[in-house]
């Protein structure tokens, strides 16, 4: 199942100064990746930087016969490793380990799936939307970014039959403001009888807000967290998040193997940084 591939970079599409989509030749990983799973990429040869970086599998790309052939990564420059990946030229090889982590569980119709993405938090939702389409589950994407030019791949989601609700902080596209505003409004306008599951990925404050809205409206909500990860396999205990079961004591669990997807109700949100 788990593979460590010396993946050739097939393409590195710069979407903007900060975002790029890196296409990696990694058939064994493409073949088995479930929605929301991630890979660990080694951003450079040598030992500086030393550790791999976790990235959601963005797309699973298929070869001529429809076979899973490559994966793509939606990469946002955040520091040294993501900057190196942004600069990488096709032909380079990058070590790619995966797939890792617990996947999203896609709900089945008649339930509806509402995805909430902030910025690069869009990354895990293409694979989820694909699964939802297969299942025939009605899907909505609430997607927010700073500005219109940073709303990527909206058409891809629409092609997968996803209703999209967009927002930008500067109002250049969709609703002006945070993505949580249209989410709140839509939640309020939806009858309790509609069975909805929320899925959220984005900056911690956004996910915290979504989790609160979900709780207020008594909707189940899965969030995909982005903790610093040393290994991605449960070896180092670096990636822990504080969880608690109703009535239980808070407990650190490893988000690489018990997550990155968590039931929002099980997280101690005050303990999450950001």
């Amino acid at each position: 199942m788990l593979a460590d591939v010396d993946a050739t970079v097939l393409e590195n599409r710069r979407l903007s100064e900060h975002y790029s989509v890196l296409v990696l030749d990694a058939p064994p990983i493409a073949a088995v990746t479930q929605p929301g799973q991630f890979v660990m990429l080694k951003p450079a040869q040598g030992s500086d930087p030393l550790l791999r970086r976790p990235f959601s599998v963005f797309e699973i790309l298929r070869g001529p016969a429809g076979e899973p052939a490559a994966i793509s990564i939606l990469n946002k420059r955040a520091g040294v490793g993501t900057a190196l990946l942004y600069d990488v030229e096709p032909g380079t090889t990058i070590r790619c380990l995966g797939p890792l982590g617990k996947p999203f569980e896609a709900v089945r119709p008649p339930a509806e799936a509402w995805m909430v993405a902030g910025g690069v938090g869009l990354a895990p939702f293409v694979t989820l939307a694909t699964r939802l389409e297969e299942l025939g589950t009605p899907a909505t994407l609430f997607y927010g970014a700073r500005t219109a030019s940073e709303l990527y791949y909206v058409e891809l989601f629409e092609a997968l039959g996803v209703r999209t609700v967009l927002s930008t902080e500067d109002g250049t596209r969709g609703v002006r403001g945070r993505v949580t505003a249209p989410l709140r409004d839509t939640l309020s306008a939806t009858p309790d009888t509609t069975d909805i599951r929320l899925y959220a990925c984005g900056p911690t404050p956004m996910m915290r807000a979504v989790a609160r809205l979900a709780a207020d409206h008594r909707r189940p909500c899965d969030v995909s967290l982005e903790q610093v990860m040393g290994c991605g396999l449960g070896g180092c205990y670096s990636c822990v998040v504080l969880t608690t079961l109703p009535g239980g004591t808070p407990h650190f669990v490893r988000s690489c193997i018990e997550g990155p997807v968590f039931d929002a109700r099980h997280l101690v949100w005050e303990a999450l940084e950001g």
């Binding site: 550790l51 290994c231 449960g234 070896g235 180092c236 822990v240």
Partner: protein
């Protein structure tokens, strides 16, 4: 070609051991790595009781290294024996249990419990974790403390006893000697170097625990030197570690004086490295016509080349 090595009464099929704290309880890796093909697995440091450890951030990357201050989060010895050990046994792993205490009695109690459990191959005494204030490191930084812990544990177990030494001392060889005198079967070194990193924008430490332990390739040259020094000082087998990432690094430690090695941080980067490293060792032995890997241990040639043309 003989890759097996002896650590006291323990015979390992090969000298590669997964380092404590860097391989979970071993079972996490069972799907990806053939645990039975490793020389041994040193499991995450165990206290008697379960512990939550430090809040994140628990690691920071540094040049060719990383800091960690996990704080020994763990399930405690009882759950380990009940839940993890049987699974490790099923996978055919040779299990070295890394134990931590805040008092000598705790080490003794842990040793007793683990000696009675089925499937424990050896005890590694963690007296060198820089990330917790109580116990452990206090013993590891004092010769009498080291001697006391080792001899106390020695009395209650027939398992090989392997104190793990800290590099944060002036003369690590004297600690190896103290361990030998106290009846250890081997020593392992090095644990991590006490270190820190600061976020200059917030002027706060990057780790919640302020300080942490430095591991990875960055420390390798210091660790090799320490293994070399201990080799001169004791006859005990040495389990060497610190920054090992490939076959060449393993060989460096063996030649410096190690009988076996542990791989920690590199396993995070390259979790499937084990079989390649083993193959590399075989290829090296073939190329150099070495029949048994033990021949390499301490085989460093320090005879000076002639420099008759200059005095100093």
């Amino acid at each position: 070609m003989d890759l097996s090595v002896s650590i006291g009464s323990l015979r390992l099929a090969n000298p590669l051991i997964a380092a404590s704290g860097c391989f979970g309880y071993g079972v996490e890796y069972a799907g990806a790595v053939d645990l039975a093909a490793l020389g041994a697995v040193a499991v995450k440091g165990l206290f008697l009781a379960a512990r939550e450890g430090h809040p994140p951030p628990r690691i920071v990357e540094t040049p060719s290294g990383m800091l960690n201050a996990i704080g020994l989060q763990g399930i405690g010895v009882h759950r380990f024996v009940a839940e993890r050990l049987p699974e490790l046994r099923r996978h055919g792993a040779v299990v070295i249990v890394n134990i931590c205490g805040t008092t000598i009695d705790e080490y003794v109690e842990l040793a007793r419990i683990l000696s009675d459990a089925e499937g424990v191959a050896a005890l590694e005494l963690n007296i060198s974790c820089p990330n917790i204030k109580e116990g452990g490191i206090t013993f590891g930084c004092s010769l009498t403390g080291t001697h006391a812990v080792v001899s106390a544990v020695r009395k209650v177990t027939r398992l090989p006893v392997i104190p793990k030494l800290t590099p944060n001392v002036t003369d690590v060889a004297s600690f190896a000697r103290a361990a030998e005198e106290a009846g250890a079967d081997a020593v392992s070194l090095v644990n991590t170097f006490l270190a820190m990193a600061i976020d200059v924008e917030t002027r706060r430490p990057r780790l919640s625990n302020i300080v942490g332990g430095l591991s990875g390739p960055a420390i390798r040259p210091i660790a090799v030197r320490m293994v070399y020094e201990c080799r001169q000082a004791v006859r005990l087998p040495i389990i060497g570690m610190g920054g090992i990432a490939n076959t060449t690094d393993v060989l460096e430690f063996l030649i410096a004086g190690a009988t076996a090695v542990q791989i920690g941080t590199a396993n995070f980067v390259d979790p499937l490295l084990w079989s390649g490293v083993l193959e590399g060792l075989r290829a090296y032995m073939e190329r150099h016509r070495i029949g048994a890997i033990g021949e390499l241990t301490g085989s460093l040639d320090t005879s000076r080349r002639e420099h008759a043309w200059i005095s100093s």
